[in-house]
């Protein structure tokens, strides 16, 4: 089938199978920054923001995401102009293999938009669907705290 997808502010007309997931369609159309870690809705590596909400793109039928606002990590900052959350992850040492990083950054963005000064408990809860096997989460949590401090001091 054919459909229109609004990804990172750009509208795209894509052809896809009716049983394709949003992850399938994003990866097939130039968004490899969305990672396939388990395809079963657990690891969270494929997380994107759909209408501003964090979702596992492997658990979303592409058909049901047509015409909706989709944000991937490439849409929030670039290597030349990174977003403060991206630099916070880098500076905190929260990036090891990096496979979970784009998703964890989007989880952070979803959290901080709603709650600019989260408690540790709220941070842990907001990232509860984003596995990381490298960091033990310690520096990811630190990165979220750092991003929160920086972003709220700019307000």
């Amino acid at each position: 089938m054919k459909g229109s997808f609004l990804v990172n502010g750009r509208t795209n007309e894509w052809t896809f199978e009716p049983d394709a997931t949003l992850l399938d369609v994003l990866r097939a159309n130039g968004h490899p920054e969305v990672h396939r870690g388990c395809d079963e809705g657990v690891c969270g590596s494929c997380s994107v923001l759909l209408e501003g909400k964090l979702v596992n793109s492997c658990q979303v039928f592409a058909a049901s995401a047509m015409e909706k606002d989709i944000l991937t990590v490439a849409g929030i900052g670039t290597i030349h102009e990174p977003h403060p959350i991206q630099t916070a992850f880098v500076e905190s040492g929260a990036v090891q293999c990096g496979f979970c990083t784009p998703a964890a950054i989007l989880a952070t963005l979803a959290l901080l938009r709603k709650n600019p000064n989260p408690t540790d408990e709220e941070i842990h809860s907001a990232l509860d669907g984003n596995y990381c096997r490298c960091t033990g989460y310690v520096k990811i949590i630190e990165a979220v705290r750092l991003a929160s401090r920086r972003m709220s001091s700019h307000d």
Partner: protein
């Protein structure tokens, strides 16, 4: 190659007309159809344009649209009625990204063994409202007893007639924080000084899917709080389980009873609360 046809109705009537077709099922946005696969289906009806995603409280009755996500319900209730067991349960379910997709309607159409909705439905005496071929309102036991009710029908909302002003406790038995529960324990109570006015206890995940501990409820209702010390709650809270990755049937049965006892004490006594 999948040949399934997607429909995007704008009205309930339109949606229901599609649902009358062969091998055509509703899709509210949740994850169960992705897991089970849609190879055998011919049609999928997307419900996102039907406006079933509102939550309102009128005359003490909570009505939650079938399109509400677990995350949406939990967030709304956390602000409005933080003690409401429904918000506690759905807010603890699965993970943040999963809660943003799992819907009340999708969950109620399946009530899987690991449901975090079924316990609160049971103790809150929740009602399932449907439109279409078998349109009507159904309480949980009659809904669970007859799966054919869903054919040609659409769950539109869940009603909770008396959802707030309870002392409540919700426990989910999991191996790690993000896990489906091996069982859940839902407890509601009201007390008047040291007398237990009302108490409702449900354990899900056992062989009965969800079981109200009616015998225990009867013994506690109207009794003085001191009954908690004299009664063998664990014995009365015994529920049968099958084998699960979290443990043997005997083990699950034993610790479910422990959690019932703890939940009751937490809800009804200060000492239990402090833990």
């Amino acid at each position: 190659m999948s040949t399934v046809q997607w429909y995007f109705p704008d009205t309930l009537d339109e949606a229901i007309s599609y649902l009358g077709r062969e091998k055509t099922v509703p899709h509210g946005g949740g994850t169960s159809l992705i897991k089970s696969g849609i190879a055998s289906l011919e049609g999928l009806v997307d419900l996102s344009r039907l406006g079933l995603d509102s939550l309102k409280m009128e005359k003490g009755i909570l009505e939650a649209g079938a399109g509400m996500t677990f995350g949406g319900v939990a967030e709304s209730l956390a602000n409005l009625h933080p003690e409401c067991i429904l918000g506690k349960a759905l807010g603890a379910s699965a993970s943040t990204p999963m809660r943003n997709r799992i819907t009340l309607g999708g969950s109620a159409s399946l009530f899987p063994l690991w449901s975090d909705l079924i316990g609160p439905m049971s103790v809150l005496h929740g009602v399932i409202c449907t439109e279409g071929k078998n349109g009507g309102t159904y309480d949980l036991p009659s809904w669970l007893a007859d799966r054919t009710l869903q054919k040609g029908s659409l769950i539109t909302s869940l009603l909770f007639p008396d959802p707030v002003d309870w002392l409540s406790s919700y426990y989910r038995e999991t191996r790690v924080g993000f896990d489906y529960p091996a069982f859940t324990v839902s407890i509601l109570a009201r007390k008047n000084n040291s007398t237990i006015d009302k108490v409702r206890i449900a354990v899900s995940g056992g062989l009965d899917r969800v079981r109200r501990l009616t015998e225990l409820e009867e013994r506690l209702t109207g009794a003085d709080l001191s009954v908690l010390a004299s009664l063998d709650i664990r014995k009365m809270a015994s529920v049968e389980f099958g084998r699960k990755p979290a443990g043997s049937p005997e083990y699950l049965s034993e610790i479910a009873a422990v959690q019932v006892e703890r939940g009751l004490k937490a809800v009804l006594t200060e000492e239990g609360k402090s833990r």
